[in-house]
Amino acid sequence: MDVHPLKDDLPVILHFIDKAGPINSTDGPSTTIIKLAEFCPNFINLNGKTALNRAVVWEWLEKRLSFENGSAKKLCKSIEERLQGQVYIAGNDFTIADVVLFHCLKPYFCDLTHSERQTQFVNSCRWFEHIQHTSGIMEDSKKIAFLKNNIYV
């Protein structure tokens, strides 16, 4: 049995979107998410507010699709680069891309040492910390504790 790239975090994301609508069985995971996010009652413009935002969201959903277990570090690095100078993946607004990538990289962030968090992944940790406290994201699982003091820099 092949493993769906989003098999593990799709339920969580769907839970977040909080919409039990019918899912078109021919759609791939990214399309499903985009379609559902359109109707998410708790957030507006989850797929991006502007044309540019929407394009960026799609770019990161594609990245998520090609993500493999071995490539987590690479993905983290590109997120780190991306988050220099902006709050979220697609600029200064929270989007579905944040949700998807958060769930995808959660295990990896858990395994990072405090040193790595404070030296190589400063921006992504700031982002991660912020997302995990966003309502609806991680209601029922344990949050990661980040050090408040910058002891490694």
Partner: protein
Amino acid sequence: MFNLEGIESPEKLKVLFACYDTNTDVTLSSGGNSLITLTMPSGDVLKSSNSAVLYLYETACNKLLDTGNMHWLEWEFSQLRPLVANAYPSWNAKLSECLLYLETNLKADGIIRDVDVVSCTILITLSPLLDDKYILDEISEKFPFVCKWYLDFASKESFKKAWKDVTLDQGRVAFKNYFTDHSVQLKATVKPANHNSSAKTTTCNTNNSQSSETSKPLVTNEELRSSFHSWNSISALPKPKKKSHPILPVKGERNVMITSALPYVNNVPHLGNIIGCVLSADIFARYCRLRQWNCLYLCGTDEYGTATETKAVQEGLSPQEICDKYNKIHSEVYQWFGIDFDYFGRTTTTQQTMISQDIFWHLYRNNYLLQRTVEQLYCCQCQKFLADRFVEGTCPSCNYPDARGDQCDKCGKLINAVELKQPKCKVCSNTPVHRESEHLFLDLPKLEPKLRKCLEDSYKGSGWSTNAKTITETWLRDGLKPRCITRDLKWGTPVPLEGFTDKVFYVWFDAPIGYLSITANYTEHWEKWWKNPKHVDLYNFMAKDNVPFHSVVFPSCLLGTDDTYTIVNHLNATEYLNYEDAKFSKSRGVGVFGDQAAHTDIEPDIWRFYLLYMRPEGQDTQFTWNDFMFKNNSELLNNLGNFINRSLKFVSKTYQGIIPLVEITDTDLQLMALVNREVKGYISDMVKVKLRDNLKRILNISRLGNQYLQENQPWKLIKGSESDKVRAATVTGVAANLSCLLSVLIQPYMPHTSSKIQQQLNAPDSVNILADDAAFVCTLPGGHRINEPSPLFRKVEASEIESYRQRFGGEASKKRDDADKEDEAKIEADIANQGNVVRKMKAEKAEKADIDKEVTKLLELKKKLALSRGEDPNKKSKGGKKKK
């Protein structure tokens, strides 16, 4: 200003195309560390091609992509793209499985065809494969919808431009690095999805070897072996037969009769008419002769009908004189273009009357004719029943305002003139009245079962073009109705039946019979061709508007006789050729007409080449002067001409005009195998009458030849060691022989150029032969002496092209407004009336002075017409419209 960076890749092509398509200003740079990077004026960047395309279209159209269509972006990214990367440079079974999903969807509703983002992303991902015509050919049967979609898309100007800018004219080979260097990354994205189980089996490490191959197509050992075998098979070539008239079918041999739609006599044919029938048929006929088949190519002018009568009145001549005059013009035009008819006849002959009446009597006795009273349009002003072509009005089915009385140019439906809304007499613009007249009808509904059975057989012929079949099927589907075969006219074949003797046959009944009568004028044994369906293959060439008469009406007539006539086996129809975005128009002086081509400095072969290159197969095409210049300079001069001239000059300078001895190596066999592939394709495409593709094959062969010379560089080898010198000799000998092969393949297309090449090569006539298993053969062995080579083509300069564009652009007439056109119609009507007056007076032998007075009036009117058309009235001799 946007900036697009990245290596040559389909992804870069997508984004560039989207920029062009949305009129976004963009600069290009190569390299960069990502696959593609689109930097916006704001400094924001996008690094995914699909996102960039999404963004460009959304901002340009100010409209969000429907989320339902996002599915296709995901499908392209996660399924299609990796599979293409795996398969490149060839096609594979997995792709076929994957494409089935797309094909099914297109067939079901095809909505995605119209979504720019989806078309762009899917089709450009496929383009590195579909740009190869072998692949396209191979899959076109299985995936007709996908292929059609791709071809439509690929013909867009913005695509062509983007393709050119990204591939830098190298073609799909330009993507080689993308597919090899990024193969791991690309293939890694293959992920199973719930909707396409077939893709699940694709993993990241399959077939790595294939995409890392060099850009040259692979040649199998089998191909190398057979190429070597054919190279040495000169003795196996059959000897060409001498042509002697009359050509008659021979039992046990292949007998091919080719007809081109009979051009209507009262007009000078334009380039579109020429490529539509006579030229296309000529290419095929010349090919058949190369194949040593018994081939009879017939054509002639169609001379009966009202149009001729009216023209005669206009020019103050009798209908017969008009026919004589224009038949001569037609013959001259075709002769100039090098159309090699076995016989060019006409329909105003006694044989025509005999055969038409004979067929008529058979139909009459077999009860396939009906008698009916018809309401017809009668013009009180002109005092005659108006022929369908002489009524204009609004089409009853599509409301096109300029529909003719017999057929609507817009929807192609055949119309009964009385059904036209707001009918107008074309000559005097008055509204005609309805009047009754007795007529004979061909009972098509009764003949339909016979026709259907016959077509079932006929469709097996490989030469049917798709449009011909579609048009025929549409006709049958809409239901056949009885069709009138008689007309209230004078100028035609008389109806022999008592009570109808004052009428003539309607041209559509008797014009196709012209094929038979023209043959009868050619040989008394015409029935050996026409009553011999088992041993004769009949090919009809025409433009698409003529299809129903050749596939439905005429076969029905022949079937109704219960005699065994030869009925069409292959019906090949072209679409229309337009002239620089407009239609050809004699009255507005737009476009090049047959007699004018001879007054340019361009040789007939070059015209033939370009017309064939643009042959409207599958869709309408355009004649443009810029493209004409470009194709001449790039394809003829720099490709074909360059190769042959280079090869021959080397023989003449280095080897004193004597072809050296060759020692074939694998490198040479590689070339031969690739050439033989094209030759094989040439032969098989001719079966399907794909004339345009085959011209491109010839150009491909000379491209291979140029590459071969460039890679082997005999001019350097000749200065090297002993073994280098042997190589130089071999390469020279192979290139000279390849020139000879090209001269044979190009013969149907450019007969004059072909004989020029063969003259320079001093090639014997026996090379002009093609067999089923035609291949690259050594026809000019070592020791053969060639003649002095000289350049085959000349460069066409932009200034020359500009002068032609002006001359044939009808600029003067374009400025005229519609009011002028109405004036013109009025003057034309006046001329017709005045012509009548003069002829009547002449017939009544009136006083010469009186006649002269009326004639002066007539000439004044003609001068006025010429002026209103922006022509020089003094240029024209009396009654002569030869050169306008």
